[in-house]
């Protein structure tokens, strides 16, 4: 069940350094929202505040509110473990567990969350691998290690692993930056399918990719190196790329900096 994300007044720190400052935005359910911006603008940091992964980094600290539907992720009694279970994440470099088989990789999240019967587990694994467009490629070698797959397959395996636990939101941190163009295309197609079921937020360095896959685009920028990153604007992707309301966005998109 895809959920809406409402961020208000969110500031994230590394120790005393303010990485992103006072960000507010809304992410619509069942849509793809892309974050773009120059390196160091804090878009990945912001993404990681959405499933409380930022605080895993030494010195990481967050102020502000993130509402998932109506529940504040940073509320007093909220368990970050439950948050991460509900908000899935796919990383820049494919990171299947090297010691686990393909099957076990997909089942890893399920096994954490309770006991499943064998056929039940097999059913969910198959469904998730199909959902990640990987089933046909791996159905004959589910017991082989996941690290034997190609980079693009590994990344889709990671997506299968993330969607197997049926999260409400799927965060993707530059999921294609380590992949070749064909694998990238496969992942982009997959994102188009997944948005029917999940709220998807994707960080990307590649503006064409943002234009291709996203419904809405948020542009982040920083005024100078060492300054905190800020949200410049968020709008329909078509508008951002055709007719942004802020000059800096247009400069960035037309390749004048960044």
């Amino acid at each position: 069940m895809a959920k809406r994300i409402d961020v208000s007044g969110l500031t994230a720190f590394y120790g005393n350094h303010r990485a992103i400052d006072d960000i507010s935005m809304t992410v619509e359910p069942r849509s793809v929202t892309a974050f773009i911006g120059p390196s160091g603008c804090g878009k990945s940091t912001f993404l990681r505040t959405l499933n409380r992964m930022h605080e895993v980094t030494p010195g990481g600290r967050v102020e502000g509110k993130v509402l998932l539907d109506d529940e504040n992720l940073y509320g007093a009694n909220v368990d970050p473990v439950a948050v991460r279970r509900t908000v899935g994440m796919v990383f820049q470099r494919p990171n299947p567990f090297p010691t686990m088989s393909i099957f076990d990789n997909v089942a890893a999240g399920l096994r954490l969350n309770g006991k499943y019967r064998k056929n039940e587990l097999a059913h969910v694994v198959e469904k998730s691998l199909k959902g990640a467009n990987l089933w046909n490629e791996v159905k004959d070698r589910l017991n082989k290690p996941g690290s034997g797959l190609s980079g693009g397959q590994q990344q889709r395996l990671c997506i299968a692993r993330a969607i197997a636990v049926e999260p409400d939101v799927l965060l993707m941190d530059e999921p294609c930056s380590a992949l070749d163009p064909i694998s990238t295309l496969a992942i982009e197609d997959l994102i188009g399918e997944l948005k029917e079921r999940f709220t998807i937020v994707i960080v990307t360095h590649n503006m064409q990719q943002a234009a291709r896959v996203s419904d809405r685009t948020a542009f982040f920028n920083l005024s100078a190196v060492g300054q905190p990153g800020k949200l410049i604007e968020i709008d329909e992707t078509e508008r951002i790329f055709a007719n942004p309301s802020v000059q800096a966005t247009e400069d960035y998109i037309s390749g004048r900096f960044g």
Binding site: A76, V78, D79, V81, T86, N113, G114, E166
Partner: protein
């Protein structure tokens, strides 16, 4: 979809909030449980009349772990409970290990400090019976310093050059064989090294016990350690430096001497000092080869010598209070010496650490 979430994670019935939050233990809870189980353990121990403190401790530890699990499982759920128990166990491991090690340090310092003074450091056991009071470690100190110095003089050049060979020249069968046997040599028990020198130097060549014989065994123990650490350090020297120097037409041996070794010198020094620290405390080969004496013998090449670790062993074996006190005094001097070497070595490593990071 997310109904599975609610299914698998039975929310506490009266939880007013959503599925993401549940009742959580306060931060001080583990400490409170620890204190509670300690008290309980002691109480049970007292009531049941168990006399060994270890039983009290075991009881308290068991109560602590069971209590942590049960309370956390009740409040936060079984997964969090497992996590909490693992955290507690890891802390317990740490504390369990700290206790004997602190005890060792404390015993050595407290028993040794009363013994060590100027007289103790500057006198030998000459003219004293083992059971007499007084006496000192001067002869042992002298012996240790001479033996370790000789061992270092033998092992360092061989070790350094071997490492240079392996890193700068080494290819092919010979270097693979050397690498393999350096590994093998690292694992030689010190007493075996002692036996080897015994069977060659003393039994076969008929040289008699001497500080030098001990130093030979110590050198054998020291070489692989130096090769290993120097190798690691030389591998850290960036190849660009070598290439830059060679491109200027500097011959390879001068490149190694003037560019590679100076770049790595900090790490190499650290490695050598750590190796020195390690062999300083070796007792077994010294026991077999140096033989021990009460007298000052400043000539390491002739006649029995003493050494600090051997002195500790001998004095402990005598068993009288005065002798055991002397053993503690010598142990304190020995440990201080080894720790000082370690601290200085690590200081050099930090000070000379490559500035580039990687």
């Amino acid at each position: 979809m997310s109904h599975t979430l609610q299914d698998k994670r039975p929310a506490v019935a009266d939880d007013p909030q959503g599925s993401l939050s549940h009742a959580r233990m306060p931060r001080w809870a583990p400490l409170a449980i620890a204190a509670g189980s300690a008290v309980l353990g002691c109480l049970i121990g007292l009531v049941a009349g168990l006399d060994s403190k270890i039983q009290w401790g075991l009881l308290a530890a068991l109560i602590f772990i069971a209590g942590t699990y049960l309370i956390t499982a009740k409040v936060e759920g079984p997964r969090q409970a497992k996590n909490q128990v693992a955290t507690s166990l890891v802390w317990v491991c740490f504390l369990v290990a700290v206790v004997p090690l602190l005890s060792l340090a404390w015993t050595t310092v407290s028993k040794g400090a009363g013994v060590v003074d100027g007289y103790f450091l500057s006198h030998s056991m000459s003219g004293l019976l083992d059971t007499d009071e007084g006496g000192g470690i001067y002869h042992a100190l002298l012996g240790t310093i001479e033996q370790v110095a000789i061992a270092t003089l033998i092992a360092t050049p061989i070790g350094l050059l071997t490492a240079v060979y392996l890193v700068e020249y080494g290819r092919g069968r010979l270097s693979r064989a050397v690498t393999f046997f350096v590994d093998v040599m690292t694992g030689i028990p010190s007493i075996v090294a002692g036996l080897f020198i015994l069977s060659t130097w003393i039994v076969m060549l008929d040289f008699g016990f001497s500080g030098f014989a001990g130093a030979l065994a110590l050198a054998i123990l020291m070489m692989p350690v130096i090769v290993r650490s120097t190798e690691e350090m030389l591998k850290l020297v960036p190849n660009e430096l070598r290439e830059a120097s060679l491109a200027l037409g500097v011959p390879q041996w001068r490149t190694i001497l003037k560019v590679v070794l100076p770049t790595a010198i900090g790490g190499i020094t650290t490695g050598v000092m750590l190796a020195v620290a390690r062999i300083t405390g070796e007792t077994a080969p010294v026991l077999l080869l140096v033989f021990g004496t009460k007298l000052i013998n400043s000539n390491p090449f002739e006649g029995a010598q003493s050494s600090l670790p051997l002195y500790v062993f001998e004095q402990y074996s005598v068993g009288t209070d005065a002798a055991v006190d002397r053993a503690w005094g010598a142990a304190l001097v020995l440990i201080a010496f080894v720790m000082l070497l370690n601290l200085v070595a690590r200081g050099i490593a930090r000070w000379k650490a490559p500035k580039t990071g990687r």
